[in-house]
Symmetry: C2
Subunit: 335 residues, 2 copies
Amino acid sequence: MTATIKDVAKKAGVSLSTVSLVLNNKTNLSPETINKVKQAISDLNYHPRHSARGLASKKSGNIGFILTDDHFSRAEPFYTKIFLGSEFEARNYNYYILLTTIEQNFCKKSIPRFLLEKNVDGVILAGHIPDGLINFLSNNYNIPVVYIDYLPPKGKSFAILIDNVDGAKLAVEHLLEKGHRDIAFVCGEISHPSMQSRFLGYKQALKNADIPLREELVVTDELATSDESGHNATCKLLKTGIHFSAIFAGNDAMAIGCMKCLKKKQISVPDQIAIVGFDDVDIANQIDPKLTTMRVDKEEMGAIAIKNLVEMITKEKRNFGKVLVPVELVTRNST
Amino acid sequence: MTATIKDVAKKAGVSLSTVSLVLNNKTNLSPETINKVKQAISDLNYHPRHSARGLASKKSGNIGFILTDDHFSRAEPFYTKIFLGSEFEARNYNYYILLTTIEQNFCKKSIPRFLLEKNVDGVILAGHIPDGLINFLSNNYNIPVVYIDYLPPKGKSFAILIDNVDGAKLAVEHLLEKGHRDIAFVCGEISHPSMQSRFLGYKQALKNADIPLREELVVTDELATSDESGHNATCKLLKTGIHFSAIFAGNDAMAIGCMKCLKKKQISVPDQIAIVGFDDVDIANQIDPKLTTMRVDKEEMGAIAIKNLVEMITKEKRNFGKVLVPVELVTRNST
DNA sequence: GTGAAAGCGCTAACAG
DNA sequence: CTGTTAGCGCTTTCAC
């Protein structure tokens, strides 16, 4: 049988509850008592049993992580990395993460089991989450919730978001520093909050540099944010005949599409036209020329979520607001 | 307070232990008793508390899922889908899955916490797993283990594997049916068991069709199994001047590389040369022409793992051997 | 500071 | 087939 708290108490020559107090670092015990106990714990290779703790403390020691299945199995492992960051951070706080996916068209039947069984002390919701689940949570549960990369349409919430505005500004400022003045912006799905923010950052950077916004250098009417739409947008720009020496693309996929178009037309990147993307997807570093882009620390986003969630759980308080995770310029060969 | 087993017993007018028996469908209770209890359970929206069960039964109700971090965050969401299949199946058996990643260079410090805390009833190991962890598990634990897409180098084990031999046979048979006789095989990293099996399947299919194996149509000396190595291998084949009307590539990445090379040389696919890949990665369906390839049901692999693991856990027995998951031909435009 | 004792909600004997 | 009972390992009052 593996060691129990009783064994530790016996070995350390203290009472059972003293060990418990050490375990949960409650009250000020004498340092020597603490040391004795800690010694016994490591001697016996003791690990408190999750279920026993859970039963006695009415806390599960688990954190739920929910995202939609399509988000999770996308080729770009964006959410995977966020999860990894969470899982890693959760180890420090001795929480387990229960990961589950839901379908985009949410129905009562698909409520995560750990919610029904009240087996999580808090929940992380990553990416676009159906309203049905959000409402279900807020109506039936009082556990803390942290959103990642998604801001629920209404109500108070706590969200970890990418600083798209600032990131876009940095991207454009990089181009400005390289001496570019005629900088095009190419984007699709402009109704998406991220894209709007990036567009805003583009405009702000130009304004700060006293460069007027020229509508003819802006293409935002592509439907998607894909490779293909980047290609199309670039073709459109070239057809106008208007001069530009750089493109800031709404994301890497589009930036790659831009490069493909330019390659076809024998326009050299970065000599004739420089390109900056956004996201730093894995292939950004594999294409030729390698794409200069904006990187977000996904693992960090997951870690921040855990830190905040644990704080809310243990202090029984609720945080509200947004945390904007900074974006970093990754300079490569396309600029 | 949420309902407990006591409330259910009271509501159903039976004893506490009767409810427990229903919950664990032990012994043959009278159908009407069962119904009464089930009614009470749903009336009260009762869910047994995981921790209480765990404490009393000495089972955690959890299954550990371990893979290396690089496997998990690969662009191709192969293991992600396997995990999803596991998670989905685990719901049916009321298990939670604890997902964690380890580093390829395993050290004692990185032993998953749920192992140290003995908080899983069984473990799934997906993809290449460092020997250190395998040894640690077999030396210190007696919980059932299921491997997915990896066969540990030594010792008895239970593994869910892709039926690469049969899959490759099917691929080549498809080409044979289309009338091809001169079928090239293009592959890299031939020391990898999967690639060896696919090569074997290629040879078997030819043999069954009474077509002699022609070494000059086989390229297995590429180092990687990437896009680029597919490209190189195809160039090599073309340079020899030997006629062939079809290529079976070791995987989709290589197949795509083959297509790129052929495109450059203005050789039309599938009119002049047909191509079959293996894996059915997401982009296989997005390139032009769309790639005919072999698909493996990743979710199914995860589900099979869970089914077997649960059986081993509940029946306290150990299964050994291999389960080969069938591969399916996905016919698209490259053949 | 530390120790004793009472549960947390459930399972698993056992006796009826 | 049903009810009683004794824990599982821990937290948490409450005395000391």
